[in-house]
């Protein structure tokens, strides 16, 4: 799933494979003159070297999950937030790429808000399929839907970077994968139309927008149309969650990256009979949970993307 094209961008394949073994806290992203690149795990000294825009990605907190793979998902979310609070460079904001809750219960949303707000950062959310279990997606939209379209898609600008949050977890079709739908795709085309090709673009959504493993539903049926609208831009970064592990792929000007969960790991594609929660030894759990730091630096060609496990 990793690309062999990364050496020319200064991130070796070995480095990416190392990232893949990191699992868990969050990814720190740096946007440097166009393309994102991984800085490393949250808390590493490299994060402190970042200048320009830095933001944090957190994903798949599954508040309410209490099965053997992690009996205390709220606790590990709190550990991730505590880790974020210790970052040498305070991120400008945070994005959450969905599955905030496990079962869309009001109490789960309340608990998630109570912990995530302790990071004292603006948070831009997109929903995961676990956040839209109620009819009409009312619970998610009442909390996070202000100023968004449809089931919760929107865009915003920060430091010259255009951010687009997409929803690919509603109105799913039997036998299919993630779904953006015609309304959202038309909105996306319109949203991007007047932007200069030199504008760095960051797209974030829950389910991967590239086909990771369709046998487990890890892809989005109509993502090709979205990527078609994005292909004229010189720097596109696509950030996803859903698969609870780090994967990265570079295709032309587009860098795809998935983040770790803060709740529980899932198996590598095809490595288990199903993508269900993966039980690891208790002392290994925090090495496969984490967050992601992203930094944008003017004059450089890549965003710096740093995956940071809770431990290890």
């Amino acid at each position: 799933m990793t690309s062999d094209h990364d050496d020319r961008h200064g991130v070796s394949r070995r480095k990416i494979l190392e990232c893949m073994t990191w699992a868990g806290t969050g990814v720190l992203w740096t946007i440097a003159g166009g393309t994102p690149r991984s800085l490393g795990i949250v808390g590493e000294t490299v994060a402190a070297e970042a200048s320009g825009l830095t933001f944090l990605q957190i994903s798949d907190s599954h508040v309410g999950f209490d099965k053997p793979a992690n009996p205390n998902a709220l606790g590990t979310l709190e550990e991730a937030v505590n880790k974020i609070k210790t970052l040498a460079v305070k991120p400008s904001f945070m994005i959450h790429t969905g599955d905030i809750t496990h079962l869309s219960k009001p109490s789960e949303f309340d608990d998630a808000d109570r912990i995530i707000s302790q990071a004292r950062l603006d948070v831009h959310y997109v929903p995961g399929e676990h956040d839209v279990l109620d009819e009409n997606v009312k619970l998610y939209r009442d909390r996070y839907g202000r100023g968004t379209k449809g089931a919760g898609w929107y865009s915003f600008d920060a430091n010259g970077v255009h951010f687009v949050g997409l929803v690919n977890v509603v109105d799913l079709k039997a036998g299919g994968l993630g779904n953006l739908g015609n309304d959202q795709l038309e909105w996306l085309e319109d949203d991007l139309r007047d932007r200069s090709a030199s504008t760095p673009i960051v797209v974030f959504a829950h389910i991967p927008l590239w086909t990771v493993y369709p046998q487990w539903g890890w892809g989005t049926d109509d993502s090709a149309r979205a990527l078609d609208y994005l292909k004229r831009f010189g720097s596109v970064t696509v950030l996803n969650g859903h698969i609870h592990q780090i994967m990265q792929k570079v295709e032309g000007n587009v860098t795809f990256h998935t983040a770790m969960s803060t709740a529980f790991p899932q198996p590598a594609p095809g490595a288990a009979p199903s993508p269900g929660p993966m039980k690891v030894a208790d002392d290994k759990l925090r090495s496969v949970l984490g967050v992601t730091d992203v930094t944008f630096e003017r004059g450089h060609q890549r965003l710096a993307i740093v995956d940071k496990p809770l431990q290890g």
Partner: protein
């Protein structure tokens, strides 16, 4: 040992005949037998296709550590989110083939084939 095993087989067969006789005398009763359950396990419906008589209540049981939703493709039925060990039942009254999927994990699909209780299709 051989004798005891043979005896057990005979007893089991006799019980099966008795069960069939009871079912035969109450053809409209709702039957809750092993053949009307669908296990949700490892992100699959098992069996993926189940055949029942009209009037049968089919029950889905989630054995996964992940939640699933059983949803008819023609919106005939839709379960609440089923957490681990939660069940969902639906009674099929009209013959036909009813396809369904998990609306959370749509690559998971299954079908219920409902046969008429009278007429030639009712006799195996």
């Amino acid at each position: 040992m051989g004798h005891r095993f043979a005896n057990r087989v005979w007893v089991t067969t006799a019980l099966a005949v008795a069960t069939l006789a009871v079912v035969g005398s109450f053809p409209t009763a709702s039957i809750q037998a092993a053949g009307t359950e669908v296990q949700i396990d490892q992100f699959t419906f098992a069996p993926q296709q189940i055949t029942v008589k009209a009037g049968t209540t089919v029950t889905w049981i989630n054995d996964d550590d992940a939640p699933h939703i059983v949803a008819s493709t023609i919106k005939l039925f839709k379960s609440k989110p089923l957490d681990t060990k939660d069940k969902f039942s639906f009674t099929f009254t009209t013959p036909g083939t009813y396809e369904y999927f998990c609306s959370l994990h749509p690559h998971m699909t299954g079908a219920v084939v409902v046969e008429a209780t009278t007429g030639s299709s009712a006799t195996p």
